[in-house]
Protein backbone atom coordinates (compact mmCIF):
# COMPACT_ATOMS: atom_id res chain seq x y z
CA UNK A 1 0.00 0.00 0.00
CA UNK A 2 2.88 2.37 0.81
CA UNK A 3 5.37 0.87 -1.63
CA UNK A 4 7.45 3.53 -3.43
CA UNK A 5 6.18 6.17 -1.02
CA UNK A 6 8.50 8.35 1.00
CA UNK A 7 7.42 9.26 4.54
CA UNK A 8 8.34 11.92 7.08
CA UNK A 9 7.65 10.76 10.64
CA UNK A 10 6.92 12.98 13.65
CA UNK A 11 6.38 11.07 16.86
CA UNK A 12 5.78 12.17 20.42
CA UNK A 13 7.00 10.52 23.58
CA UNK A 14 3.66 10.67 25.39
CA UNK A 15 1.69 9.63 22.34
CA UNK A 16 3.27 7.38 19.72
CA UNK A 17 7.02 7.40 19.29
CA UNK A 18 8.60 8.05 15.91
CA UNK A 19 10.24 4.64 15.84
CA UNK A 20 6.87 2.92 16.36
CA UNK A 21 5.33 4.88 13.51
CA UNK A 22 8.38 4.09 11.39
CA UNK A 23 8.01 0.36 12.06
CA UNK A 24 4.36 0.49 10.97
CA UNK A 25 5.06 2.47 7.81
CA UNK A 26 8.05 0.36 6.84
CA UNK A 27 5.98 -2.79 7.21
CA UNK A 28 3.65 -1.28 4.61
CA UNK A 29 6.56 -0.67 2.25
CA UNK A 30 7.24 3.05 2.85
CA UNK A 31 10.71 4.56 2.78
CA UNK A 32 11.33 6.77 5.81
CA UNK A 33 13.37 9.82 4.89
CA UNK A 34 13.10 11.69 8.17
CA UNK A 35 12.14 10.66 11.67
CA UNK A 36 11.90 12.60 14.90
CA UNK A 37 10.34 12.01 18.30
CA UNK A 38 9.53 15.08 20.33
CA UNK A 39 9.55 15.34 24.10
CA UNK A 40 7.39 18.30 25.14
CA UNK A 41 7.99 17.97 28.84
Amino acid sequence: MLRNRKAIVFGERDDISGSTIRACLESGGAEIVYESTACFV
Binding site: R13, D15, I16, S19, T20, T37, C39, V41
Partner: protein
Protein backbone atom coordinates in the same frame (compact mmCIF):
# COMPACT_ATOMS: atom_id res chain seq x y z
CA UNK B 1 10.50 -3.66 61.86
CA UNK B 2 8.88 -4.20 58.48
CA UNK B 3 10.98 -5.30 55.59
CA UNK B 4 11.02 -2.07 53.64
CA UNK B 5 12.63 1.36 53.84
CA UNK B 6 10.34 4.37 54.09
CA UNK B 7 10.08 7.87 52.69
CA UNK B 8 10.23 9.64 56.00
CA UNK B 9 9.78 13.17 54.79
CA UNK B 10 9.71 15.40 51.73
CA UNK B 11 9.75 19.02 50.62
CA UNK B 12 8.61 20.91 47.56
CA UNK B 13 9.58 24.44 46.52
CA UNK B 14 8.96 26.69 43.57
CA UNK B 15 11.05 29.71 42.73
CA UNK B 16 9.33 32.39 40.72
CA UNK B 17 11.96 33.65 38.27
CA UNK B 18 10.28 35.71 35.53
CA UNK B 19 13.46 37.57 34.68
CA UNK B 20 15.39 34.34 34.19
CA UNK B 21 12.96 33.23 31.49
CA UNK B 22 15.17 35.02 28.98
CA UNK B 23 17.97 32.63 29.89
CA UNK B 24 15.91 29.52 29.28
CA UNK B 25 17.12 27.50 26.31
CA UNK B 26 14.25 28.31 23.96
CA UNK B 27 13.97 31.97 24.89
CA UNK B 28 17.71 32.56 24.74
CA UNK B 29 17.93 31.11 21.26
CA UNK B 30 14.98 33.17 20.06
CA UNK B 31 16.36 36.37 21.60
CA UNK B 32 19.72 35.72 19.97
CA UNK B 33 17.96 35.23 16.64
CA UNK B 34 15.72 38.27 17.08
CA UNK B 35 16.65 40.68 19.90
CA UNK B 36 13.16 42.26 19.77
CA UNK B 37 11.81 39.03 21.27
CA UNK B 38 12.87 40.19 24.71
CA UNK B 39 10.65 43.26 24.54
CA UNK B 40 7.76 41.17 23.26
CA UNK B 41 8.05 38.85 26.26
CA UNK B 42 8.07 41.57 28.92
CA UNK B 43 4.30 42.32 29.00
CA UNK B 44 3.55 38.64 29.61
CA UNK B 45 5.70 38.08 32.67
CA UNK B 46 3.68 37.28 35.79
CA UNK B 47 4.00 39.12 39.06
CA UNK B 48 5.09 37.19 42.16
CA UNK B 49 1.56 37.46 43.55
CA UNK B 50 0.08 35.95 40.37
CA UNK B 51 2.51 33.05 40.50
CA UNK B 52 1.85 32.46 44.19
CA UNK B 53 -1.93 32.32 43.93
CA UNK B 54 -1.84 30.21 40.76
CA UNK B 55 -3.78 27.08 41.83
CA UNK B 56 -1.39 24.45 40.38
CA UNK B 57 1.48 26.10 42.26
CA UNK B 58 -0.61 25.97 45.43
CA UNK B 59 -1.03 22.23 44.93
CA UNK B 60 2.73 21.83 44.47
CA UNK B 61 3.45 23.35 47.90
CA UNK B 62 0.54 21.56 49.57
CA UNK B 63 -1.98 24.33 50.20
CA UNK B 64 -4.41 22.59 47.84
CA UNK B 65 -4.80 18.91 46.96
CA UNK B 66 -4.88 17.62 43.39
CA UNK B 67 -8.54 16.68 43.94
CA UNK B 68 -9.35 20.24 45.01
CA UNK B 69 -7.63 21.54 41.88
CA UNK B 70 -9.90 19.35 39.76
CA UNK B 71 -12.92 21.21 41.09
CA UNK B 72 -11.56 24.68 40.26
CA UNK B 73 -12.81 26.04 36.93
CA UNK B 74 -10.22 26.91 34.28
CA UNK B 75 -8.53 29.08 33.28
CA UNK B 76 -6.57 29.06 36.51
CA UNK B 77 -4.13 31.78 35.51
CA UNK B 78 -6.73 34.55 35.83
CA UNK B 79 -6.82 34.22 39.62
CA UNK B 80 -5.50 37.14 41.64
CA UNK B 81 -4.59 37.60 45.27
CA UNK B 82 -4.21 40.61 47.53
CA UNK B 83 -0.90 41.39 49.18
CA UNK B 84 -2.16 39.84 52.42
CA UNK B 85 -3.35 36.68 50.64
CA UNK B 86 -0.06 36.39 48.79
CA UNK B 87 1.79 36.54 52.09
CA UNK B 88 -0.38 33.74 53.45
CA UNK B 89 -0.13 31.57 50.35
CA UNK B 90 3.59 31.88 49.61
CA UNK B 91 4.28 29.07 52.07
CA UNK B 92 2.56 25.74 52.23
CA UNK B 93 2.83 22.66 54.37
CA UNK B 94 5.28 21.14 51.87
CA UNK B 95 7.57 24.13 51.27
CA UNK B 96 7.35 27.56 49.72
CA UNK B 97 7.17 29.67 46.59
CA UNK B 98 10.30 31.81 46.77
CA UNK B 99 10.59 35.24 45.21
CA UNK B 100 13.21 36.08 42.62
CA UNK B 101 15.21 38.56 44.68
CA UNK B 102 15.77 36.15 47.55
CA UNK B 103 16.74 33.52 45.00
CA UNK B 104 19.42 35.86 43.66
CA UNK B 105 20.78 35.92 47.21
CA UNK B 106 20.75 32.11 47.23
CA UNK B 107 22.52 32.06 43.88
CA UNK B 108 25.18 34.38 45.21
CA UNK B 109 25.60 32.17 48.28
CA UNK B 110 25.92 29.15 45.97
CA UNK B 111 28.70 30.85 44.00
CA UNK B 112 31.99 29.55 45.39
CA UNK B 113 34.16 30.69 42.47
CA UNK B 114 36.99 33.19 42.61
CA UNK B 115 36.72 35.34 40.63
CA UNK B 116 33.01 35.02 41.33
CA UNK B 117 30.44 34.06 38.74
CA UNK B 118 28.04 36.68 40.12
CA UNK B 119 29.38 40.20 40.22
CA UNK B 120 27.63 42.72 42.45
CA UNK B 121 28.50 46.10 43.81
CA UNK B 122 28.51 46.62 47.56
CA UNK B 123 25.05 48.18 47.58
CA UNK B 124 23.41 45.24 45.82
CA UNK B 125 25.38 42.80 47.91
CA UNK B 126 23.93 44.38 51.01
CA UNK B 127 20.45 44.11 49.48
CA UNK B 128 21.01 40.42 48.81
CA UNK B 129 22.25 39.92 52.37
CA UNK B 130 19.07 41.55 53.65
CA UNK B 131 16.94 39.23 51.54
CA UNK B 132 18.67 36.15 52.89
CA UNK B 133 18.69 37.47 56.45
CA UNK B 134 14.89 37.86 56.26
CA UNK B 135 14.43 34.22 55.28
CA UNK B 136 14.34 31.86 58.25
CA UNK B 137 16.05 29.01 56.38
CA UNK B 138 18.62 31.10 54.51
CA UNK B 139 19.94 33.54 57.07
CA UNK B 140 22.83 31.22 57.88
CA UNK B 141 24.08 31.82 54.34
CA UNK B 142 24.56 35.59 54.80
CA UNK B 143 28.27 35.27 55.71
CA UNK B 144 28.79 33.38 52.43
CA UNK B 145 27.97 36.48 50.43
CA UNK B 146 31.39 37.89 49.85
CA UNK B 147 32.11 41.14 48.12
CA UNK B 148 33.32 40.95 44.54
CA UNK B 149 35.80 43.37 43.11
CA UNK B 150 34.05 46.48 41.84
CA UNK B 151 36.62 46.49 39.07
CA UNK B 152 35.02 43.39 37.67
CA UNK B 153 31.96 45.45 36.71
CA UNK B 154 33.97 47.94 34.72
CA UNK B 155 33.31 47.91 31.04
CA UNK B 156 30.10 45.94 31.48
CA UNK B 157 26.98 47.04 29.67
CA UNK B 158 24.58 47.53 32.60
CA UNK B 159 21.55 48.12 30.42
CA UNK B 160 18.62 45.81 31.25
CA UNK B 161 18.38 45.19 27.53
CA UNK B 162 21.76 43.47 27.47
CA UNK B 163 21.10 40.57 25.19
CA UNK B 164 21.93 37.11 26.42
CA UNK B 165 24.34 35.39 24.16
CA UNK B 166 27.50 37.00 25.35
CA UNK B 167 29.25 35.94 28.47
CA UNK B 168 27.97 38.55 30.93
CA UNK B 169 24.29 38.41 31.81
CA UNK B 170 22.34 40.82 34.01
CA UNK B 171 20.42 39.38 36.93
CA UNK B 172 17.48 41.68 37.22
CA UNK B 173 14.07 42.05 38.73
CA UNK B 174 12.00 44.26 36.51
CA UNK B 175 14.31 47.13 35.67
CA UNK B 176 16.47 46.75 38.75
CA UNK B 177 19.79 45.04 38.20
CA UNK B 178 21.01 43.02 41.19
CA UNK B 179 24.22 41.83 39.64
CA UNK B 180 25.79 40.23 36.60
CA UNK B 181 26.45 36.61 35.87
CA UNK B 182 29.52 35.65 33.93
CA UNK B 183 31.24 32.48 32.88
CA UNK B 184 34.43 31.18 34.44
CA UNK B 185 36.97 33.95 33.85
CA UNK B 186 40.09 31.99 34.66
CA UNK B 187 42.61 31.22 31.95
CA UNK B 188 42.01 27.46 32.10
CA UNK B 189 38.36 28.08 31.16
CA UNK B 190 39.26 29.94 27.99
CA UNK B 191 37.31 28.68 24.99
CA UNK B 192 35.53 26.03 27.05
CA UNK B 193 31.87 26.27 26.04
CA UNK B 194 30.88 24.25 29.10
CA UNK B 195 32.10 27.03 31.37
CA UNK B 196 30.31 29.89 29.66
CA UNK B 197 27.57 31.84 31.41
CA UNK B 198 24.68 29.79 30.04
CA UNK B 199 25.90 26.44 31.31
CA UNK B 200 27.20 27.69 34.63
CA UNK B 201 23.99 29.61 35.37
CA UNK B 202 22.00 26.42 34.70
CA UNK B 203 24.23 24.55 37.13
CA UNK B 204 24.09 27.23 39.81
CA UNK B 205 20.27 27.53 39.56
CA UNK B 206 20.00 23.79 40.09
CA UNK B 207 22.36 23.91 43.06
CA UNK B 208 20.67 26.88 44.74
CA UNK B 209 17.09 25.68 44.22
CA UNK B 210 17.97 22.13 45.26
CA UNK B 211 19.67 23.49 48.37
CA UNK B 212 16.47 25.35 49.24
CA UNK B 213 14.48 22.11 49.01
CA UNK B 214 17.11 20.32 51.10
CA UNK B 215 16.91 23.02 53.76
CA UNK B 216 13.13 22.64 53.81
CA UNK B 217 13.51 18.88 54.14
CA UNK B 218 15.73 19.28 57.20
CA UNK B 219 13.33 21.79 58.71
CA UNK B 220 10.26 19.65 58.11
CA UNK B 221 12.00 16.63 59.63
CA UNK B 222 13.53 18.78 62.40
CA UNK B 223 16.96 17.25 61.92
CA UNK B 224 20.41 18.72 61.88
CA UNK B 225 21.82 18.58 58.31
CA UNK B 226 24.80 16.74 59.79
CA UNK B 227 22.53 13.75 60.42
CA UNK B 228 22.16 13.11 56.68
CA UNK B 229 24.81 10.64 55.60
CA UNK B 230 24.22 10.44 51.85
CA UNK B 231 22.73 12.71 49.20
CA UNK B 232 21.59 11.79 45.71
CA UNK B 233 21.04 14.57 43.20
CA UNK B 234 18.59 13.72 40.42
CA UNK B 235 18.69 16.93 38.36
CA UNK B 236 19.43 17.04 34.65
CA UNK B 237 22.29 19.51 34.47
CA UNK B 238 25.54 18.31 32.93
CA UNK B 239 28.10 19.89 35.26
CA UNK B 240 31.74 19.67 34.33
CA UNK B 241 34.26 21.12 31.93
CA UNK B 242 35.24 20.15 28.39
CA UNK B 243 36.86 16.92 29.46
CA UNK B 244 34.05 15.63 31.67
CA UNK B 245 30.80 17.37 30.90
CA UNK B 246 28.09 15.63 32.92
CA UNK B 247 30.61 14.40 35.48
CA UNK B 248 28.29 15.32 38.34
CA UNK B 249 29.11 16.54 41.81
CA UNK B 250 25.83 18.37 42.33
CA UNK B 251 24.75 16.27 45.32
CA UNK B 252 27.76 17.18 47.40
CA UNK B 253 27.63 20.78 46.18
CA UNK B 254 24.12 21.06 47.62
CA UNK B 255 25.16 19.24 50.76
CA UNK B 256 28.09 21.60 51.24
CA UNK B 257 25.78 24.59 50.93
CA UNK B 258 23.34 23.15 53.47
CA UNK B 259 25.81 22.08 56.14
CA UNK B 260 25.49 18.34 55.51
CA UNK B 261 29.04 17.90 56.71
CA UNK B 262 28.85 14.17 57.23
CA UNK B 263 27.22 13.33 53.93
CA UNK B 264 28.78 11.91 50.86
CA UNK B 265 26.78 11.83 47.68
CA UNK B 266 26.43 11.19 43.99
CA UNK B 267 24.36 12.27 41.02
CA UNK B 268 22.03 9.90 39.22
CA UNK B 269 21.08 10.54 35.60
CA UNK B 270 18.03 9.07 33.92
CA UNK B 271 16.40 12.07 32.28
CA UNK B 272 12.95 12.72 33.81
CA UNK B 273 12.94 9.37 35.59
CA UNK B 274 16.08 10.18 37.59
CA UNK B 275 14.10 11.12 40.74
CA UNK B 276 12.33 7.74 40.71
CA UNK B 277 15.61 5.94 40.04
CA UNK B 278 17.22 7.93 42.86
CA UNK B 279 14.52 7.11 45.41
CA UNK B 280 14.79 3.42 44.54
CA UNK B 281 18.58 3.60 44.83
CA UNK B 282 18.30 5.42 48.15
CA UNK B 283 15.92 2.76 49.44
CA UNK B 284 18.31 0.02 48.33
CA UNK B 285 21.24 1.72 50.07
CA UNK B 286 19.20 1.92 53.27
CA UNK B 287 17.94 -1.65 52.92
CA UNK B 288 21.51 -2.87 52.50
CA UNK B 289 22.57 -1.01 55.63
CA UNK B 290 25.12 1.07 53.75
CA UNK B 291 23.50 4.40 54.65
CA UNK B 292 20.93 5.39 57.24
CA UNK B 293 19.49 8.74 56.13
CA UNK B 294 19.61 9.38 52.41
CA UNK B 295 18.37 12.65 50.96
CA UNK B 296 17.25 12.63 47.33
CA UNK B 297 17.28 16.15 45.91
CA UNK B 298 16.15 17.54 42.58
CA UNK B 299 17.05 21.13 41.71
CA UNK B 300 15.29 23.27 39.13
CA UNK B 301 15.90 23.45 35.40
CA UNK B 302 16.81 26.89 34.05
CA UNK B 303 16.92 25.52 30.50
CA UNK B 304 13.20 24.73 30.62
CA UNK B 305 12.03 28.14 31.83
CA UNK B 306 9.92 29.69 29.09
CA UNK B 307 10.11 26.55 26.96
CA UNK B 308 6.53 27.26 25.76
CA UNK B 309 6.78 31.06 25.80
CA UNK B 310 5.92 31.50 22.13
CA UNK B 311 2.49 29.93 22.56
CA UNK B 312 1.69 32.09 25.56
CA UNK B 313 2.81 35.31 23.88
CA UNK B 314 0.93 34.40 20.73
CA UNK B 315 -2.25 33.95 22.76
CA UNK B 316 -1.56 37.11 24.77
CA UNK B 317 -1.58 35.33 28.10
CA UNK B 318 0.97 35.14 30.92
CA UNK B 319 4.02 32.95 30.42
CA UNK B 320 3.14 30.16 32.82
CA UNK B 321 6.42 28.24 32.74
CA UNK B 322 8.12 30.86 34.87
CA UNK B 323 9.03 28.87 37.98
CA UNK B 324 11.97 26.66 38.85
CA UNK B 325 10.84 23.58 40.73
CA UNK B 326 12.77 21.79 43.46
CA UNK B 327 12.04 18.83 45.70
CA UNK B 328 13.71 16.64 48.28
CA UNK B 329 12.94 13.33 49.98
CA UNK B 330 14.37 11.64 53.04
CA UNK B 331 14.67 7.85 52.80
CA UNK B 332 15.36 5.88 55.99
CA UNK B 333 14.73 2.51 57.58
CA UNK B 334 11.21 1.75 58.71
CA UNK B 335 10.02 4.04 61.50
CA UNK B 336 6.67 2.31 61.96
CA UNK B 337 4.77 5.34 60.63
CA UNK B 338 6.01 6.49 57.24
CA UNK B 339 5.00 4.87 53.95
CA UNK B 340 7.12 1.95 52.76
CA UNK B 341 8.77 1.66 49.38
CA UNK B 342 7.90 -1.86 48.21
CA UNK B 343 11.35 -3.24 47.53
CA UNK B 344 9.96 -6.75 47.12
CA UNK B 345 11.84 -8.92 44.66
CA UNK B 346 10.55 -7.86 41.25
CA UNK B 347 8.45 -5.12 42.79
CA UNK B 348 10.39 -2.31 41.17
CA UNK B 349 9.27 -1.54 37.65
CA UNK B 350 12.00 -1.40 35.02
CA UNK B 351 11.92 -1.54 31.24
CA UNK B 352 14.49 -3.85 29.64
CA UNK B 353 16.14 -3.07 26.33
CA UNK B 354 14.13 -5.83 24.65
CA UNK B 355 10.93 -3.84 25.27
CA UNK B 356 11.97 -1.63 22.37
CA UNK B 357 10.06 1.57 21.72
CA UNK B 358 6.51 0.25 21.91
CA UNK B 359 4.44 2.11 24.47
CA UNK B 360 2.44 -1.00 25.21
CA UNK B 361 5.60 -2.96 25.98
CA UNK B 362 6.91 -0.17 28.19
CA UNK B 363 3.67 -0.09 30.21
CA UNK B 364 3.60 -3.86 30.43
CA UNK B 365 7.09 -3.87 31.95
CA UNK B 366 6.76 -1.00 34.38
CA UNK B 367 3.07 -1.26 35.25
CA UNK B 368 1.64 -4.77 34.95
CA UNK B 369 4.66 -6.96 35.63
CA UNK B 370 5.86 -5.47 38.93
CA UNK B 371 2.29 -5.50 40.24
CA UNK B 372 1.89 -9.15 39.24
CA UNK B 373 5.17 -10.09 40.91
CA UNK B 374 3.89 -8.49 44.13
CA UNK B 375 0.62 -10.39 43.84
CA UNK B 376 -1.33 -7.23 43.03
CA UNK B 377 -3.54 -6.10 40.18
CA UNK B 378 -4.04 -2.61 38.80
CA UNK B 379 -7.18 -2.17 40.87
CA UNK B 380 -5.29 -2.82 44.12
CA UNK B 381 -3.63 0.58 43.70
CA UNK B 382 -5.60 3.52 45.11
CA UNK B 383 -3.85 6.32 43.23
CA UNK B 384 -1.42 6.43 40.32
CA UNK B 385 1.04 9.23 39.73
CA UNK B 386 2.45 9.33 36.24
CA UNK B 387 3.53 12.45 34.36
CA UNK B 388 2.02 15.34 36.32
CA UNK B 389 2.64 18.30 34.05
CA UNK B 390 0.20 21.16 34.56
CA UNK B 391 -2.35 20.77 31.72
CA UNK B 392 -2.86 24.50 31.48
CA UNK B 393 0.74 24.87 30.35
CA UNK B 394 0.58 21.85 28.06
CA UNK B 395 -2.80 22.62 26.47
CA UNK B 396 -2.05 26.23 25.61
CA UNK B 397 1.26 25.12 24.14
CA UNK B 398 -0.57 22.63 21.94
CA UNK B 399 1.01 19.56 23.51
CA UNK B 400 -2.17 18.15 25.06
CA UNK B 401 -2.85 16.94 28.57
CA UNK B 402 0.09 14.61 29.18
CA UNK B 403 -1.21 13.44 32.57
CA UNK B 404 -4.53 12.32 31.10
CA UNK B 405 -2.81 10.66 28.14
CA UNK B 406 -0.87 8.51 30.57
CA UNK B 407 -3.93 7.69 32.66
CA UNK B 408 -5.75 6.50 29.55
CA UNK B 409 -2.83 4.21 28.81
CA UNK B 410 -2.84 2.87 32.39
CA UNK B 411 -6.60 2.26 32.09
CA UNK B 412 -6.20 0.57 28.71
CA UNK B 413 -3.47 -1.71 30.07
CA UNK B 414 -5.68 -2.67 33.02
CA UNK B 415 -8.51 -3.53 30.61
CA UNK B 416 -6.20 -5.52 28.32
CA UNK B 417 -4.90 -7.43 31.32
CA UNK B 418 -8.46 -8.37 32.21
CA UNK B 419 -8.24 -6.51 35.49
CA UNK B 420 -10.82 -3.85 34.66
CA UNK B 421 -14.04 -3.79 32.62
CA UNK B 422 -13.84 -1.48 29.65
CA UNK B 423 -17.11 0.15 30.66
CA UNK B 424 -15.63 1.08 34.03
CA UNK B 425 -12.46 2.59 32.60
CA UNK B 426 -13.50 6.25 32.62
CA UNK B 427 -14.82 6.23 36.19
CA UNK B 428 -11.82 4.21 37.39
CA UNK B 429 -9.41 6.70 35.84
CA UNK B 430 -11.23 9.54 37.57
CA UNK B 431 -10.67 7.76 40.91
CA UNK B 432 -7.08 6.64 40.51
CA UNK B 433 -5.82 9.56 38.45
CA UNK B 434 -5.42 13.22 39.10
CA UNK B 435 -4.99 16.48 37.29
CA UNK B 436 -1.40 17.54 36.62
CA UNK B 437 -0.12 20.40 38.72
CA UNK B 438 3.65 20.55 38.33
CA UNK B 439 5.65 23.02 36.24
CA UNK B 440 7.24 21.71 33.03
CA UNK B 441 10.62 21.25 34.65
CA UNK B 442 11.58 17.89 33.15
CA UNK B 443 12.43 15.59 36.04
CA UNK B 444 10.34 17.54 38.56
CA UNK B 445 6.82 16.72 37.25
CA UNK B 446 7.53 13.06 36.57
CA UNK B 447 5.26 11.43 39.20
CA UNK B 448 7.22 12.52 42.27
CA UNK B 449 5.16 15.66 43.04
CA UNK B 450 2.40 13.36 44.32
CA UNK B 451 4.57 11.77 47.01
CA UNK B 452 3.80 14.56 49.47
CA UNK B 453 0.07 14.33 48.87
CA UNK B 454 0.18 10.53 48.95
CA UNK B 455 1.97 10.53 52.29
CA UNK B 456 -0.56 12.98 53.68
CA UNK B 457 -3.46 10.85 52.42
CA UNK B 458 -1.86 7.68 53.86
CA UNK B 459 -1.34 9.33 57.24
CA UNK B 460 -5.04 10.24 57.25
CA UNK B 461 -6.03 6.71 56.31
CA UNK B 462 -7.51 7.81 52.98
CA UNK B 463 -5.40 5.57 50.73
CA UNK B 464 -3.28 2.47 51.19
CA UNK B 465 -1.18 2.23 48.05
CA UNK B 466 0.07 4.62 45.41
CA UNK B 467 2.08 3.70 42.36
CA UNK B 468 4.59 6.09 40.84
CA UNK B 469 5.47 5.73 37.17
CA UNK B 470 8.19 7.87 35.65
CA UNK B 471 9.22 7.99 32.02
CA UNK B 472 12.52 9.03 30.52
CA UNK B 473 13.18 10.22 26.97
CA UNK B 474 16.45 8.37 26.52
CA UNK B 475 16.32 9.03 22.78
CA UNK B 476 17.17 12.68 23.45
CA UNK B 477 20.78 11.58 23.96
CA UNK B 478 21.04 10.73 20.25
CA UNK B 479 22.65 7.42 21.16
CA UNK B 480 19.51 5.28 21.26
CA UNK B 481 15.89 5.37 20.14
CA UNK B 482 14.70 3.86 23.42
CA UNK B 483 12.65 5.44 26.17
CA UNK B 484 12.66 4.26 29.75
CA UNK B 485 10.16 3.67 32.50
CA UNK B 486 10.77 3.34 36.22
CA UNK B 487 8.11 2.61 38.83
CA UNK B 488 7.62 1.77 42.48
CA UNK B 489 4.74 1.31 44.87
CA UNK B 490 4.47 3.32 48.05
CA UNK B 491 2.43 1.62 50.75
CA UNK B 492 0.88 2.89 53.97
CA UNK B 493 2.95 1.64 56.86
CA UNK B 494 1.47 -1.68 57.99
CA UNK B 495 2.14 -0.78 61.64
CA UNK B 496 -0.42 2.02 61.51
CA UNK B 497 -3.98 1.23 62.60
CA UNK B 498 -5.98 -0.30 59.74
CA UNK B 499 -7.95 1.99 57.48
CA UNK B 500 -11.62 2.06 58.46
CA UNK B 501 -13.78 1.08 55.56
CA UNK B 502 -16.53 3.53 54.68
CA UNK B 503 -19.73 3.05 52.76
Amino acid sequence: MSRFPVIKNFSYCLIHTPDLIRYGSKTRREITRDPDTEARIAPYLRSYSQAVCYPPNQVFVGNLTPDELTTLPRPWYTRRASEEQTELLRQGPFGEILNQETFYGLLKAADIMMPPLIMTDESNLENLREKLAAHPLCKDLVPDLQSSSSASLEGTDQSPATTPGGNVWPLQSGKTIWGFFQGDQRSEAKNDENLQANNLLENLCSKASGALALKWLCRREAINPEEIDFIISCGEEACGDRYQRGGGGMAKAMGQMCGCRNASGMDIKNFCAAPASSIITAAALVQAGIHQRVAVVGGGSLAKLGMKFQSFVQQEMPILDDCLGAMAFLVTADDGKSPCIRLSPGGIGTVPVKAGTSDEAVFRYYLLEPLARMGLTCTDIDRYAAELQNPEIMDFAGAGDVAQKNYRKIGAMAVRAGQLDKGDMASWISRIGMVGFAPTQGHIPSAMPYIGHAMTAMARGEIRRAMFLSRASLFLNRCTDLLDGVSFVLERNPRLPPIKKTG
